[in-house]
């Protein structure tokens, strides 16, 4: 019965976006790559630190600015050829970090609906598993990494 109640509580909570305080995640250095209007894609970068004791997964994100936002890994083969590969999720180990950075893992924004300008802010909701939890962020748009 207790389990059922917890499950019900989770179901109730599901549609609500959790704030950073509720999810044991610290977000640092988040930014979106500003791109010209002709671009259909861009990427979002940040460092996520899992302050909790259970592993988490970044399963993707959603935002008004793009049709789709998916986790990607960047691979480099022996000849120096770089490419990316879509993955179902990117792990954020318990007590560890997930670094999203140019030339590395990133969230790719596809079929852009808007092209925010450098200096503007965009709202993005991260999808975190387990439990399909959501984390609302507002991050700056920049042409270059924000130090």
């Amino acid at each position: 019965m207790k389990k059922l109640l917890i499950a019900f509580a989770i179901l109730l909570l599901r549609p609500l976006a959790l704030s950073a305080q509720e999810l044991p995640l610290k977000v640092e250095g988040a930014w979106m790559q500003a791109v010209p209007d002709v671009s259909e894609t861009t990427a979002v970068y940040m460092t996520l630190t899992n302050l909790g004791k259970t592993p988490l997964d970044l399963a993707g994100a959603r935002s008004a600015v793009a049709e789709r936002i998916e986790p990607m890994i960047t691979k480099k083969d022996r000849s120096g050829m770089m490419g990316m590969e879509r993955v179902p999720s990117l792990p954020i180990p318990a007590g560890g970090k997930l670094v999203l950075q140019p030339a590395g893992n990133h969230l790719m924004l596809m079929q852009l609906r808007q092209h925010p300008r450098p200096g503007e802010k965009v709202k993005i909701t991260l999808l975190i598993n387990p439990g399909a939890q959501e984390l609302d962020l507002e991050l700056p748009v920049s042409k270059q990494a924000i130090e």
Binding site: M82, G83, E85, P102
Partner: protein, 226 residues
Amino acid sequence: MSTAGELKERKFAPARQGPDWRILVSLLVILLAVLVSVLWGVRQKAQEGFYGFRLFPLKDAYDFNLIDQNGQPFQLSKLKGKVALFTFGFTHCPNICPTTLMDLATVYKALPAADRNRVQILFISVDPDRDRPEVLKNYIPYFDPGIAGLTGSKDAIDRAVNAYGASYEISRQPGDPPGVYSVNHSAFTYLVNSRRKLELLYDYEKLADTKRIVSDIEKVLNERGG
């Protein structure tokens, strides 16, 4: 099947007959160490203190036959004494290309004004189907109006790619709508000096160090007359 006794005999027999293998191995190790340090020394000298990987000997730079963002034919030979810094990419690229272009734009802006006229930064598309000149015209100046975007026939692009040891491949992922694809590509930046010799190579990760790249360019331009 051999018995333990036979094995033992075989193992010790050569030591009694031939020269001591331990001396041979030691000599080989010393020879290898000398060879490695000589090669290392030669490499260091060839580097001449440059931050980018310096080719030794310098290689004649292949002159490509491409079209710029204004639809005009473009060749390295038209740069007349300028240093060219270029990279391969495509405009639908979400992370590598914008970062590379921003890094190169930052390098360009950091150059003394007088030297900026002697340097041309180029972005060569490996996705000519989508990257028409008009697309490049709307993409490249966003990073810096001084950068030229190049495209062309697949054949001309392939020749340039091969000549510079670059590579690319179209990559389609399951679930992508038709017409949606990505391009995997090598991410080196090449410096061709004013005598049209390929001189320096930069790995993607090296591009963020603006100061050292500016210093390399200054060195190529000034110390040795470009």
